[in-house]
Subunit: 232 residues, 2 copies
């Protein structure tokens, strides 16, 4: 299990935070402001419906109705339903990316950085529940375009690097960084998923603080007693 030698974390070139914003359609005489506003209405309606019913479960005319826009208007802003869902994905994902990574300093004290990261991730899930559910509770792979896939990596890579850094510091558990990341991320998703399904009461700050400590204990290397060695 070798990883790149890395005591210092090569700040992984956060892409400029405005990539991911959609190009408005070629405006003729319409003010760009109006056009952007209408595009936002469409994207917002699409997000609401996609996050609730999924891509295939959502009809384009329904999006139009919710956006208070004619069905044809959507096609002035997006080439197709697939382009629309990629637009929604890119907007949500770059919002998440910025929430997670902007001014995030993975160096220095690992526990502090972990706390910061936890706050950013759970804060995003709470402030942007539709975006979070859209991104995490569905399988987008079949229709994502190249841009969308790259956005995915813009988040995964830095987070992965942070895990590796924490491991190199001797703080994180001695496992593949990606595995650790997948479990912690999964735990957070599981938490908000259960909350949304009504299996849990609303996640207040107390619960989230307990959950953070639990995930930190998952994350870091010092083992609990009762190790599991003499087992059937």
């Amino acid at each position: 299990m070798n990883q790149p030698d890395m005591q210092t974390l090569p700040t992984p070139d956060l892409p400029d935070p405005n990539s991911g914003s959609l190009a408005p359609p070629a405006t003729g005489s319409l003010t760009a402001a109006k056009a952007a506003q209408k595009q936002r209405a469409i994207l917002g309606a699409a997000l609401a419906l996609f996050s609730e019913r999924g891509f295939h479960g959502t009809a384009v005319p329904d999006v139009a109705r919710l956006a208070e826009v004619g069905a044809g208007t959507i096609y002035r802003y997006f080439d197709s339903k697939e382009a629309l869902v990629n637009g929604v994905f890119q907007q949500a994902k770059s919002l998440l990316r910025d929430a997670l990574l902007q001014d995030f300093d993975p160096q220095g004290d690992v526990r502090l950085a972990f706390h910061d990261f936890w706050q950013r991730l759970t804060g995003f899930a709470r402030r942007h529940p539709l975006e979070f559910r859209f991104l995490e509770l569905q399988d987008h792979v079949p229709y994502l375009d190249e841009t969308s896939r790259q956005l995915e990596l813009q988040i995964l890579l830095p987070v992965n690097l942070f895990c590796q850094y924490a491991r190199d510091q001797g703080v994180a558990r001695d496992m593949a960084a990606g595995t650790l990341m997948a479990m912690i991320w999964g735990a957070v998703v599981g938490l908000f998923k259960a909350e949304h399904l009504g299996y849990l009461p609303t996640c207040d700050d107390t619960i989230l603080a307990q959950a953070e400590q639990a995930c930190w204990d998952l994350f870091c290397r010092v083992s609990n007693p009762l190790p599991l060695h003499p087992l059937p």
Copy 2:
């Protein structure tokens, strides 16, 4: 945060393990064996497609083609597409329920029971990847019928009780049992999801053993050093 007084775990009445099996259609002259076989073919094909493309992304004639059956035949076995997806759900869910709970003894040593549970869950995910992905990576709520919802509870309740038992024993972390459960379950789902998406190498036994220890450390009460108290 009060929970029922519970030093002994009321073995929660595992429902008979054959509930969840589908009733074959009223057979006239066809042998029940043949009919059951055809129903299995349909359910298998539906599982394969639903788990990959989701409910709305799958066309019934595609299911028929994969099952090597006429489109009309499906409607001899299932009233509608919704009934079909509920059939798939119930078959997968009762398979999971049996894998998790049959002869599961939540009493006694908590660490051993946790290990047993971990093996059962990850074993299921590996032996039945389609079922696992179908169950965990999609939002079924909109079309589940009453029977399907009850199956859900047949798993949740015992697992929840085990968490509470572990807490009452002073072993599990002092959090709401449901929250703990949601995080651990989520971590496992996150692991296999990342593996399936190609973000992780195949989860071999070594990785799973590390992951188990990490989840155990999430689960149990003894805190790691570096508690997070003097924080900004």
